[in-house]
Amino acid sequence: MFLQLNDVGKTFEDKEKGEFEVFSNIDLSIDRKEFVSLLGPSGCGKSTLLSMVAGLEHATSGTIQLEDKQIKQAGPDRGMVFQQPSLFPWLNVRDNVTFPLKSTLSKQEAEKRADHFLKMVHLSRFKKHYTYELSGGMQQRVAIARALAMDPKVLLMDEPFGALDEQTRHILHDELIKIWEETQKTILFVTHSIQEAIKLSDRVIVMGTRPGRIIADFNVDIPRPRKRSDERVIELEDKVMNLLKEEINKVLKEELNNELEYSH
């Protein structure tokens, strides 16, 4: 398998609350060039799982392997795009993209490469701009270009469009699919949005919470571009929604401290 998670578990040591097990016994296999979405309610451990693949967190138990090699720490073979803007404000757009290339390429080569990917995300014009001059959508485009510029084997995306408004999100969806088709990367994509997961991915992994676990794994074999009004899309959305409802209610009840029970 290309990316293989075996019996993975994660427990945080919290000074105040003691040990907290986010999930355990997660098994997952992902093929080369697959676009896989991780979907689930808040707190089920999606980000934690992604961080472990990135090598930013260590698994408490189990193994994670990329091309049969154990993942031990973060490295440029796995590019990551975060929800919060993580561009460096002291660098201009192009220097942000060449940041990971400094150690391996000459300045000229790095810039050529950066320009290539900036063109891919339609930001050639903004090479010399600084972060604060860009809208949120443009910043995420740069972050995608930066991750791609390292030529990683896997692209990890943690709710990359979560902070954007709906219209911008739609546009970036289309761009991301185009880039994915062009670069043939494997993508592991975390999202809250059922719609987004179904629109984009080959596979939707649905996670549940308390404890975190995988509750379903759907193959989405609907040809792209997928229309919201497509019957197969709607059917799948409904399926996932029903699966998640119970999970969402768990979270909600906790938030309202069981008030719903007696006020209804």
């Binding site: 961080s51 990135a54 090598g55 930013l56 720490q73 973060a74 490295g75 440029p76 796995r78 590019g79 990551m80 975060f82 919060q84 993580s86 460096f88 404000p89 002291w90 940041f99 990971p100 150690s103 600084y130 972060t131 604060y132 930066r146 991750a147 390292m150 990890l156």
Partner: protein, 252 residues
Amino acid sequence: MNLNILIKRILFLVAVVGIWQLIFSAGVLEEIIFPSPLSVWEALYNGFTTGDFLGALGASFRHLFIGLAMAIAFGTVIGVILGKSKQADETAGMYLIAMQSIPSIVWVPLAIMLFGFSEFAVIFVVVLGGTFVMALNVRTAIQSVPPQFIRAARTMGTRGISSFFRVEIPSSVPYFMTGLRLAWAFSWRALMAGELLSNGPGLGYSLAYAQDYARMDQVVAIIVIIGVIGAVVDQFVFSKLEKNVRNRWGLS
């Protein structure tokens, strides 16, 4: 700043000087206690043409630059140590705050006792005035590097010492600038305290000297110089720098 505002400000200044002149003309206060605007202007003019004020200013700036440079260097080293090591911070951090809350004028007697009446005593006080506030801000700077940035750098294969120089340092620049501005402000105050109680040369000493000889016109003239320098350096150098950096770093 447009012309309109400039005019308003000048008018305000004129009004203040006018009131001053009025009080003076009313003669309720002796001239030796309350000089006229004109005599202050003359004191300023004479002070600059005879070169007295320029000499004092030169000496003051020499003390300030040496002291501030040392304060920045020490403050940065202490701040980085406390910012990177939780152990060190828990142990010594509190004492840093205590040191910072000692008015620098209080160090003057100690400095004179330890170092005599050399300019070094003044510089010592300036260094103490700036070091702690610099250290506190550098500590905050290091502790405020968004973990997001460090994580992002790690996913790009940048960690350890390389991450410190390529990510943590540049990311700290805005707090560092705040530290600079405050270090300047406190060092400037410390400088005046040190010079006022020391043996010259320097602007603070000139002030004390003018006071000894009951030259209120010179006293007021020197206060005006100190105010103008303080305001100009603060507004046109440090605050501006800090604002630009914060803006670029997307912090305001």
